[in-house]
């Protein structure tokens, strides 16, 4: 079961790369913010259909949940918007390195303290080595 989760995350990242490359082209025609809007708007429609047929959970939990648990969508928009603003100023390379370092540092902190409802998982030397390997890989790519 655990392998499937790793595979899902790997495929998710690959999908993100493909998506980025294709949306780069779309953005040239309709604009960058408009491209994000297209993604979220049509994505909502696709998911509504998926939910109608395959939804097994409880969407009504939305109304009972503490409000901070509803922030996922907004955070996604903040992420997209900062990238759109930053790329023309500092270039794709530095933007991606900065985003990824922010993402990794924050992941470690969130999990170490069990913030945002995640399970506590302490930092250990393997995790630090993983992050160091990632930073070396990033520097080599860009």
């Amino acid at each position: 079961m655990r392998y499937i989760a790793y595979l899902a995350a790997l495929l998710g990242g690959a999908a993100l790369s493909l998506e980025g490359a294709i949306y780069g082209e779309l953005g040239k025609t309709i604009g960058k913010l408009e491209t994000s809007f297209y993604n979220f708007f049509v994505g909502s429609i696709i998911l509504a259909v998926l939910w109608l047929f395959f939804g097994k959970g409880r969407l009504s939990y939305t109304l009972e949940a503490p409000k901070w648990k509803l922030l996922g969508g907004v955070l996604g928009v903040v992420y997209l918007t900062t990238i759109v603003i930053s790329v023309p100023f500092v270039g794709v390379g530095i933007t991606m390195v900065a985003v990824i370092i922010g993402q990794l540092a924050m992941s470690i902190i969130i999990e170490h303290y069990g913030w945002l409802g995640s399970q506590v998982a302490k930092i250990n030397k393997e995790k630090i080595l993983a992050v160091i390997s990632m930073i070396i890989a990033l520097v080599l790519v860009y």
Binding site: A15, L18, I30, F40, L70, L75, A98, A105, S107, E111
Partner: protein, 154 residues
């Protein structure tokens, strides 16, 4: 100016991992498809407001672009579905590192072949070395995660 930009981009990265953590938590009670749907719906709401004030492009041009460019939305949906599935099972950091590796590996492949009108950047020694370091990162995160989960249980 450049420094401020880099700082704000760093914050962009923070929001991405916060998003995966929050969505993972929400999905335990609401379900995977439901969490993804909610993320897309609220994202649409906020972007509508952002576009009204700051939109410079033309959304209606969507009817004139080549269809394959529109197919990326399925990838966007898959991405979020996969993330919401992975976080409750392997945790925030393993999910995020694995996403980044998938992203970089495919990015290197796209560059190598110059797909989707991108610049052609062939795989060289530096990029090959980067792939090796990513593989070792994946190995370390798997090991490290297993150990901290065992500690949490025991």
């Amino acid at each position: 100016m450049g420094f401020l930009m880099i700082l704000s981009t760093l914050i962009g990265g923070l929001t991405l991992s916060a998003q995966s953590a929050i969505n993972g938590t929400f999905s335990r009670k609401a379900g995977t498809i439901e969490t993804t749907l909610l993320t897309f719906l609220t994202g649409t709401l906020f972007l509508s407001i952002v576009i009204l004030f700051f939109g410079k492009g033309n959304v209606l041009a969507i009817l004139e672009v080549p269809r394959w460019q529109l197919s990326a939305v399925f990838l966007g949906v898959l991405f979020l579905l996969f993330i919401v599935m992975a976080v409750p099972r392997i945790g925030v950091i393993a999910t995020n590192i694995t996403i980044i590796i998938g992203q970089l590996v495919l990015g290197i492949v796209i560059d190598h072949f110059g797909w989707f009108n991108s610049l052609v950047i062939p795989i060289d020694a530096k990029r090959a070395a980067a792939l090796v370091f990513m593989a070792s990162a994946l190995y370390f995160i798997y090991k490290g995660n297993k150990r901290s989960m065992e500690q949490a249980q025991g």
